[in-house]
Symmetry: C2
Subunit: 513 residues, 2 copies
């Protein structure tokens, strides 16, 4: 009965490129009439392993009946095609993929066991090599969201920092300033960096682009200069200017963090430990030695109470101490936008107005930037304790910061962006006489994004009134800017339904400024 053993056939298909952007996940398409392989066999295995030459890639499999791929082809969607890096038509084998071994640890975590550093490191390694499906990444995040021990937090930050580029600097002191985010406007980094760099401390700042907000620091800086620099150019800029303001995505610092965030966001799970591991992994990878963290507290901010802010501060300090990074957490007012612009071009205008000492520049943005710059400057051992603020103001007022900013812009290269402000605009009026009591940061972020920011650099919101300001009925609270008709109307309709402002019932007699 026993058949003679032939050598096991290795069915081969030809690579085809399928023009389908599947986000980050590797996806391949196979014909239901595939000649080389019976796709039915894959029922119950949605994950497959691709091999060509010595390359191996895991991917999620989709089936098709029609001409998208021929029976002797395997279609590689973007980004699987790009990552695999083999030519169209070259041979490839596909087999059902066993799940990555580190998934056992994820399952143990879900069942309540704390993970070892080696297990966490294996998980992060598999994630950055695209061996996890999105669902498997979600399983790790959610399993970790229910609890994470201090040791796990340290191991996670360490594993993430080690999984990408690790910058090394010759300087003993490498400073940085980071905001946990959530506050509209608030572009202090683009003011703090030139002040600190003008003083002579090294501040190699990398920032993110917006994912769900109307602008990230990288989006706003892009209005002023190129931000997609590689590691070598970044180092040249920092060596020439003591600082830079670039997009972190291009230098591959803690790539696992970018992957985890892209899965976290749609699920809107964001725990304290994951936030700290995320931020500290980037700082570790960037070679930062001294860090100031801006932690805004407000009813619509990421942190809503001082109790929660204190817990977060302790956690940042704990991780900083472990890795030898000096960390200072500055609790700031997160009740309302900082500056007047929300959206890249409008924010860039605010920033340049502050740096140029324009009398019309938003005072809150100037003051907050000076305060944060002061904390950073205090890390300079040669500066007399307590004089950080005076020094920061001096560098801003005497034009040194502006000059340094122009130097950084020149070193990074000119921006290719259109700097026009949205040509469609609508003022949103106060519904009554009174005093502004509250501003919903989440609401303004959403409206600015609806208007087109950050895709349309000049779209967004220009804020006229802040908390404590007196207004008369009909007086504009803010102005929406957009380019696209549909988005303009959606943003207007959104503001009409809920403008995000609470105007208190003060008499209009008192409210005259």
């Amino acid at each position: 009965m026993t058949a003679t053993p032939p050598s096991p056939p290795r069915p081969q298909l030809k690579i085809r490129r399928v023009n389908l952007d599947t986000g980050r996940e590797n996806v391949v398409v196979i014909s239901r009439q595939s000649t080389a392989l019976r796709p039915d066999v894959f029922r119950g295995f949605s994950r497959v392993e691709l091999r060509a030459n010595s390359k191996v890639l895991l991917a999620t499999l989709l089936l098709t009946d029609d001409g998208m791929v021929a029976p002797d082809e395997l279609g590689l969607a973007e980004p699987a095609f790009r990552r695999f890096g083999e030519q169209v038509g070259s041979p490839i084998t596909v087999t059902p993929a066993p799940p990555p071994e580190s998934l056992d640890a994820v399952r143990a975590k879900i069942q309540g066991r704390a993970l070892s550093a080696a297990e966490i490191s294996a998980i992060i390694e598999d994630i950055v090599h695209y061996r996890y499906s999105d669902m498997e990444i979600a399983a790790f995040l959610i399993g970790s969201a229910s609890f994470m021990t201090s040791s796990e937090l340290l191991a996670l930050a360490h594993a993430m920092a080690n999984a990408g580029t690790q910058l090394k600097w010759d300087h003993k002191i490498v400073v940085d300033k980071h905001c946990i985010g959530g506050i509209p406007g608030n572009r202090t980094s683009i003011i703090v960096v030139p002040i600190v760099a003008a003083h002579g401390l090294m501040i190699p700042k990398t920032s993110s682009r917006a994912i769900t907000s109307p602008a990230g620091t990288a989006d706003t800086m892009e209005v002023l200069a190129r931000v997609d620099l590689g590691v070598d150019t970044m180092k040249d800029v920092v060596n020439a200017c003591h600082g830079c303001l670039i997009w972190g995505g291009h230098v591959n610092l803690s790539p696992a963090d970018d992957i985890l965030i892209s899965v976290e966001r749609p699920l809107a799970i964001d725990t304290r430990e994951q936030m700290v591991a995320s931020i500290m992994s980037k700082k570790l990878a960037a070679g930062v030695t001294h860090l100031v963290i801006d932690l805004p507290v407000g009813p619509a901010a990421k942190v809503t109470s001082t109790v929660e802010a204190m817990r977060l501060r302790k956690l940042f300090e704990f991780v900083g101490d472990h890795f030898g990074i000096a960390v200072e957490v500055v609790i700031t007012d997160g009740r309302q936008p900082i500056g007047n612009g929300i959206g890249p071009v409008l924010e860039a205008q605010d920033v340049m107005a502050v740096l140029a000492n324009d009398p019309a520049a938003p005072r809150d943005l100037r003051e907050k930037s000076l305060r944060l710059a002061a904390h950073v400057l205090e890390y300079d051992p040669d500066l007399r304790g307590g004089t950080g603020y005076t020094r920061a103001r001096e560098l801003l007022d005497n034009g040194a910061a502006l000059k340094q900013m122009h130097k950084i812009i020149e070193a990074q290269g000119p921006s290719g962006c259109n700097t026009d402000i949205g040509t469609l605009s609508a003022d949103i009026p106060a519904p009554r006489d009174g005093v502004i009591e509250e501003i919903d940061c989440l609401r303004l972020n959403r409206l600015a994004r609806t208007a087109g920011a950050p895709i349309d650099k000049g779209a967004g919101i220009k804020v006229f009134k802040k908390i404590g300001d007196h207004v008369q009925q009909g007086e504009p609270l803010y102005r929406i800017h957009a380019f696209d008709d549909a988005q303009f109307e959606l943003a207007r309709a959104g503001a009409k339904a809920d403008n995000g402002y609470v105007v208190g019932a003060h008499s209009s007699d008192e409210s005259k400024p």
Copy 2:
């Protein structure tokens, strides 16, 4: 500055069918050059809402550059096209979709809060209406895996039962028999049902197909008769024969369960509570009043200890009591396969041999089926207590069960399956003289599946030796059957690497039978 308000434009696209099988998830494809809508706007929103006439569907969005869809089209992949049920070319609008509201409860669950019955019901409603992405379903499952209260378990079983077809029967006693699975072979249901039906109790049995195993009861029954009956035909069969043996997928009992299982399996998370909610939701929906559960315990079974078996038994009893279903849990030997065949055709042969009182029929399958049938028959108030086993044996031995089986087969309709056994075969030999001490059920399941079961009905394994049997070196332990060369070779190579048997070191003198 304020523009005059035009009515907000509702950009429309034309429906195109994209022949891409995306499993269960709704997926749509839009051109990066879309005329009506700027896909960049969807960066950060992977979920979209489709509207046409009064229909609404949530889907995951993919982008394409080339001709897969034109700039004025929206491509609907399977199954989104089928579910939306609108014609190719008809107008459709697409907007970024807000996440389903019930996701707030999922997030609360992840953060450790117990959910109310209303929250669980809303989650299940959204899941069965395809409003959750796979990742969101995973979030619910994983959040629930870390803990689930008794109230949550009851609410989940109830919500799942209510979310699909609910069968009603005129009889006071509607019995059922269910195995939690994991043991190769073990097709007792196909023997128990005709015995119980021949006795006259009503047993409307619905079974599942294999997902990761080499055969489900529905796959094996399909070798003998049609199993994809709708609700009305099922009722006719049950009324005519007192019982049926059909595939549950076609009658839409607890569809949420099928969805949850399809996400659970690839992640391999399977908690006690989820298992009980899953099984009991199906029984509630099927209108079962009296239930016997086969709970195999063994080192490679789903339940590995008697302590764990006892906890599971209590949980089944608790849920049964709450919903008024009499539940008896029978703990059985799960150390090895039951019967000789593993794979649909081989198992069907075992089953028919037992029903026909063939002297070569596997004794273990006969005995286990009689024992389970006895427990079911004891639910008959007209049967004298303790005589269930005698009655079951009587119905089997006198041919009444076989006759009832033929009646059921005739009522369900003839099978369209090829009943040949895999033409490629290889015997796997004992590596030494001795006594069989252990058989790894997981390993045999995997080898049978590698050989092609259940897709190839006649592929699988025929077992020759069980625990306690004496073997001589070279004597076959089991035979692998396959049709496909590649799968045959993979299964052989797999058995060579690890045949799943432990042969103990008894002297060959003693081992002669």
